[in-house]
């Protein structure tokens, strides 16, 4: 089958290697940095030979960081916990609200349904600060400023449209005849929804939930605007870290590695679902 010349095959192989190096090198390098002391990081020229140490990770976990000015107390684990809480609850709420709505949009062409669905989708594309900046003033008045509840609500801005539109596509793919048959057998709509529609759309719901989790985890601007230090997720926490004076570079790298590891591992574990969700429904299965 392969009628390519040897020269072409070598060029292809070189191109593939270049691609992998370009896209993997930053992650690889940050992991290497996180395993080094400041002395080996600052060596010139940089070298890959060093005795790996886990001291940076230990410092991050204990919250006692070494800096030029002695020991500093920065609780990055708190940021990590915030990221987990915000992402999990945002996705859970978005699924709870979004899946029934997606079902309604897919099954019933009720008056205004297309307009509502488009309005929801347009949230995904509107500049987030347009909503966030006025919201800071409302949140202060409502007492929602710097609360998990307020943040989880705002995270619906990204999670809800995603779930609604991906899951809707999956519900539309299920033939209504199956549901009719089940209903004629004497079951109510809720039983039909639970026993037929939900399981059949299961993979789509999983893909949408996964993507929503990753986008929530990676979000930066919501918490930057609405949360103060004790509620900030890793994305905002890490920035404060870098700008804080004199923290050891290896410890910064360790914090970054711990912040990106969850989404990267999740992606490796569920890459098939992810590709399906990311290709915007242009490909199925």
């Amino acid at each position: 089958m392969d009628h390519r010349s040897p020269v072409e095959r070598i060029l292809r192989a070189l191109a593939l290697i270049a691609i992998v190096v370009f896209f993997m090198f930053p992650i690889f390098w940050i992991v290497l940095m996180s395993l080094q002391t400041n002395e080996t990081i600052l060596r010139s020229p940089p070298s890959m030979s060093f005795v790996p140490t886990l001291k940076n990770y230990a410092a991050i976990i204990s919250g006692e960081l070494d800096s030029n000015a002695g020991t500093m107390s920065i609780h990055f684990m708190n940021n990590l916990l915030n990221s987990i809480l915000l992402s999990v609850f945002s996705v859970a709420l978005a699924l709870l609200l979004g899946v029934p709505a997606a079902y309604a949009f897919a099954r019933h062409k009720f008056r205004g349904s297309e307009d509502i669905a488009f309005t929801l989708l347009s949230f995904r594309f509107a500049p987030p600060l347009l909503v966030l900046l006025p919201l800071t003033l409302y949140f202060q008045a409502l007492g929602l400023a710097n609360t998990y509840l307020g943040l989880v609500w705002v995270y619906q801005l990204i999670c809800l449209p995603l779930i609604l539109w991906i899951v809707r596509g999956y519900f539309e793919d299920i033939s209504p005849d199956i549901e009719h048959a089940y209903r004629i057998a004497g079951h109510g709509w809720f039983a039909t929804f639970k026993k037929i529609a939900l399981p059949l759309a299961g993979p789509g719901i999983a893909a949408a939930g996964l993507l929503a989790f990753i986008f929530a985890w990676n979000n930066f601007v919501f918490a930057l605007v609405l949360a103060s230090a004790d509620k900030q997720p890793v994305t905002v926490g890490a920035l404060a870290f870098v700008t804080a004076s004199g923290i050891q570079y290896g410890q910064i790298a360790a914090a970054i590695v711990m912040s990106i590891a969850p989404t990267l591992l999740l992606a490796l574990w569920a890459q098939r679902y992810l590709v399906e969700g990311l290709s915007l429904g242009a490909v199925k299965g």
Binding site: F23, L133, L224, T235, L239, S279, L280, A282
Partner: protein, 307 residues
């Protein structure tokens, strides 16, 4: 066929609940969204006001003045220019690179699968954190990229801290994070193309370069358009990468819309100008998103029809 016959019975028994049901199902989602629409309307209102948080006594409607001022405001034109250049360059580079990689990985093989999974990693990295990673890598004291630049003869290449190279640096981060997205979409597109035209062309001895221009590219164009519009929508609003890297600096070299609006709001507390800036950005994205949604729905229909 018995399904058809039994349907009226079903409909009569629960007429009311059937008309109400879809509304009830989508109501919670709608309520949450109304909560989001209210601040949006507030933003429009603010954009028509003279409103500085530092001068509450001076607050009042000035109608279109915030917008009119933009015409003579060189900062605004700088913001518009930087945003458009950033969006244009990132999406352009990502399209070319993404298409090249997708073509390279088109055939299903173990190596190609491995490479495409590896390419998911940058896309899964939070853009703000990716910017911080590159910030460490371009540190003048120990940054590996600064060292590489030295090796190829650029002494003192200052990346994001120099006005000449700041744009290049943030574009590099954007390309690193988002090229895989375009690659995934185009790879899905390439693999779904029918094979007959290519077989016919190969039989006729059409050179492969010509096959690419004459067959692949035209057939792939709906995917390319969808990917480009989607990325353009995101890129013109880029905030995370630029804010984490330089907060819009050095000077106002990277002052894109959202960074400028953020700093206007929180630093100079000029709420009116900030809101007006965001409204202009919103108008751009709204126009773009309408074109995008049309293309996207057509693409989805096509994918369904082909399956």
């Amino acid at each position: 066929m018995s399904v058809q016959a039994d349907m009226p019975v079903l409909r009569r028994s629960s007429r009311l609940s059937r008309t109400l049901l879809p509304y009830l199902l989508s109501l919670p989602a709608l309520l949450v969204c109304i909560g989001i629409l209210i601040p949006f309307v507030t933003a429009i209102y603010y954009s028509l006001q003279r409103y500085r948080m530092s001068q509450p006594w001076n607050r009042g409607m000035n109608w279109g003045e915030n917008y009119l001022n933009f015409f003579t405001d060189s900062d605004f034109w700088n913001t518009l220019k930087v945003s458009l250049v950033y969006a244009g360059l990132t999406v352009g580079i990502e399209l070319v690179l993404g298409l090249a990689i997708a073509l390279l990985l088109q055939r299903r093989s173990r190596v190609n699968n491995f490479v495409s999974i590896m390419l998911l990693m940058p896309l899964m990295t939070a853009p703000a954190l990716a910017a911080l990673m590159f910030k460490l890598m371009t540190n003048p004291n120990f940054g590996i990229l600064s060292y590489f630049m030295q090796l190829i003869g650029f002494q003192d290449f200052r990346w994001a801290s120099s006005p000449d190279t700041a744009l290049l640096t943030v574009i590099l981060v954007d390309v690193w994070v988002y090229t895989p997205f375009i690659m995934i979409l185009l790879l899905a597109g390439l693999r779904s193309l029918p094979t007959q035209p290519f077989e016919a062309a190969a039989l006729d001895g059409v050179p492969r370069l010509e096959q690419f221009w004459r067959i692949t590219l035209p057939m792939l164009s709906p995917y390319i358009l969808t990917a480009a519009l989607f990325r353009l929508l995101d890129s013109i609003q880029q905030f995370d990468i630029i804010y984490a890297m330089t907060q819009g600096g050095p000077g106002n070299r990277l002052m894109v819309f959202q960074v400028e609006a953020y700093l206007n709001f929180f630093q100079s507390t000029n709420v009116g100008r900030s809101a007006a800036l965001l409204m202009i950005l919103w108008a751009i994205t709204y126009a773009l998103s309408n074109v995008f949604v049309k293309n996207w729905l057509r693409l989805r229909e096509r994918a369904k029809g082909g399956a």
